[in-house]
């Protein structure tokens, strides 16, 4: 189930990324090949970009691929690491949960305004930010549960 969900999330993100690249190629072809710049390509590329980044950050990047500062972690004992992991997840997940209602209010409010050319309501453009917060809360819950069970505390020791 989880693997299937991960594959779907990857497929969506990869497709959005590829679409963004193709939109650029269309734009360049239109401008240089046919000498007729298109009005909508820049805008669509930016909308796809916002989605790609926030979607991938929320659902595609595993924790170990993020940039982390692990000097303390590497010298800490297993017991300390467990406390660190639980505290860290509570901090990030808690604040993300706190920000959820207000963020949704803002994004929902933006439905009144559309993008200049395509007229896509900004609610749909900015929606993945709310998804990112939801993912942060979910990650925190899973992270606390794993740490409680003593999983994922080994970490890669570098050097």
């Amino acid at each position: 189930m989880l693997r299937w969900a991960q594959r779907t999330a990857d497929a969506i993100g990869g497709t959005l990324f590829t679409a963004m690249f193709l939109v650029f190629l269309v734009q360049i072809a239109a401008r240089f090949g046919f000498n007729r710049p298109l009005p909508w390509t820049d805008e669509l590329a930016v909308v796809l970009y916002v989605w790609v980044i926030l979607w991938a950050a929320a659902f595609m990047v595993p924790t170990r691929e993020h940039v982390v500062f692990d000097l303390v972690w590497n010298v800490a004992s297993r017991r300390i690491r467990r406390v660190m992991a639980i505290a860290g997840h509570l901090l990030i997940g808690g604040l993300a949960a706190w920000a959820l209602p207000a963020s949704w209010d803002y994004v929902h409010f933006m439905r009144r305004e559309g993008t200049p050319v395509l007229g896509i309501p900004f609610m749909w453009v900015y929606l993945p930010f709310v998804l990112l917060l939801v993912a942060l809360v979910a990650r925190a819950v899973l992270g606390v549960r794993a740490a409680w069970r003593g999983e994922g505390l080994d970490g890669e020791v570098r050097g």
């Binding site: 990869g14 590829t18 930016v46 926030l54 990047v61 993020h66 660190m84 901090l91 604040l95």
Partner: protein, 432 residues
């Protein structure tokens, strides 16, 4: 410092110390700041979303990432490697010299030091380890040192980020990196030469003459791209973002059609990999959008500028001080964090003192690249360690001559702005 600013910094530092992803820690710090200040928490969503939506130039980042990943998957590095063997392989310590030259050529297509170490760097490390005379530590040290050239010779992801926060022209920054980047290669090659003579290191076997035309042809194709890119951006024919798309397309055509080294399967993998690494970088950028909003509304950059003005620093004293601070910060912080959080705070001061923003940017970025090879937090050391399995302490033991060479070069471009500004100015930058 106000209480809410203290809450922001405390949350950020705590999140980082607890080994939470830096981008997430920055977002959390922003939320904590608004809670402490009693402001609308929706401001985080607004700043981050608008920041992403309105920074068109940022789209260059995923496209440059894609270009570099395609080249690495499509054996472009191997072709450049063969090409460089003909040029400098016969020198003493030839493979190390080849590595530096490969880095220079690869930098002309990629904007990331990490991609440079992971692609061509790994190719040359494997070759060096097959030969007696190259210790693993030395091989790793040469590769990490030469990978720092990647973002100095255009195109460059850090320069795009710097342009975003400083308002300096991407084209002028790119041109400004050319001479310093070539000089970096120069000082590293001299360092290799000195070590090679001292240790009597082997020369590389000659490439048979009849293979030369084919190797030269395949290797020369990638070299054509930087000229097209720079010409295109600088003449105004395309934006830096479009240039990045052209670079990715060029890499796809080379790897897929010319070298026939890409399958649909690898291509799909490359797309996913590029999506993920773009998100990792951009998440930090998104976090920085909010932190900068908070710092600006607290008046931090202005206070800093006032403090520097009161201290009556000269331009040179300011630049030297910034260099020392960044070198120290670079040991423990990620490049994107320094570039997007600390540099914007210094821009008002730099302007006040009349420091040229292109010069300032190139100096700051060279400085941060040195930060990538200084422990304990040196991304290039981590990447090379992970990919080639060379212990970090061995690389450090062999790496100090290269570090000193790069530091001397940093001092030179700090003292002589013309090293940076000569090329952009001769192309018309700053002459109105």
């Amino acid at each position: 410092m106000t209480a809410s600013l203290a809450v922001l910094l405390a949350t950020l530092v705590l999140g980082m110390l607890l080994r939470m992803p830096i981008g997430f820690s920055m977002l959390a710090a922003g939320i904590a700041y608004l809670v402490a200040k009693g402001q609308d928490i929706g401001l985080v969503a607004e700043q981050v979303c608008n920041g992403l939506y309105n920074s068109y130039v940022l789209l260059a980042v995923p496209l440059f990432v894609l270009a570099a990943n395609v080249m690495n998957a499509g054996t472009v590095s191997e072709r450049i490697f063969d090409f460089c063997r003909i040029l400098v392989g016969r020198l003493r310590g030839g493979l190390a010299q080849v590595d530096i030259l490969v880095s220079v050529i690869f930098s002309g297509m990629s904007g990331s030091a990490i991609a440079d170490a992971a692609g061509p760097g790994l190719v040359t490390i494997k070759q060096m380890l097959k030969k007696p005379g190259y210790s693993p530590g030395f091989a790793g040290a040469v590769v990490v040192a030469s990978a720092t050239i990647g973002p100095i010779i255009p195109p460059s992801i850090p320069m795009v980020l710097y342009a975003l926060v400083s308002g300096a022209s991407v084209g002028a920054l790119f041109l400004g990196g050319v001479v310093p980047g070539l000089l970096m290669a120069g000082v590293l090659m001299v360092t290799v030469q000195i070590i090679a003579i001292k240790r009597d290191m082997p020369r590389d076997a000659p490439v048979p003459l009849r293979e030369w035309p084919a190797v030269m042809f395949r290797g020369a194709l990638p070299v054509s791209l930087p000229l097209v890119l720079l010409g295109g951006i600088y003449s105004g024919a395309f934006t830096p973002t479009e240039a990045a798309a052209v670079a990715a397309l060029h890499a796809l055509v080379l790897a897929g059609l010319v070298y026939r080294a890409l399958t649909w399967r690898t291509l799909a993998g490359v797309m996913l990999e590029s999506t993920r690494s773009s998100a990792v970088i951009t998440l930090i950028i998104a976090g920085a959008f909010f932190l900068n909003y908070a710092f600006t509304s607290e008046g931090v950059p202005q206070q800093l500028a006032a403090a520097v003005a009161a201290a009556q620093l000269t331009q040179l004293q300011f630049l030297l001080l910034v260099n020392v601070v960044f070198l120290v910060l670079g040991c423990v912080l990620d490049t994107a964090v320094m570039l997007l959080v600390f540099v914007p705070m210094l821009i008002p001061t730099a302007k006040l003192l009349g420091v040229d923003l292109v010069h300032f940017g190139v100096v700051a970025i060279v400085n941060m690249m040195i930060g990538l090879i200084t422990p304990p937090f040196g991304m290039l050391l981590f990447v090379t360690n992970a990919l080639a399995g060379i212990p970090i302490r061995d690389m450090l033991a062999e790496g100090w001559p290269f570090l000193i060479a790069l530091l001397l070069l940093l001092l030179a471009i700090t003292l002589f702005p013309q090293l940076v500004l000569w090329l952009p100015q001769s192309m018309g930058y700053g002459l109105k």
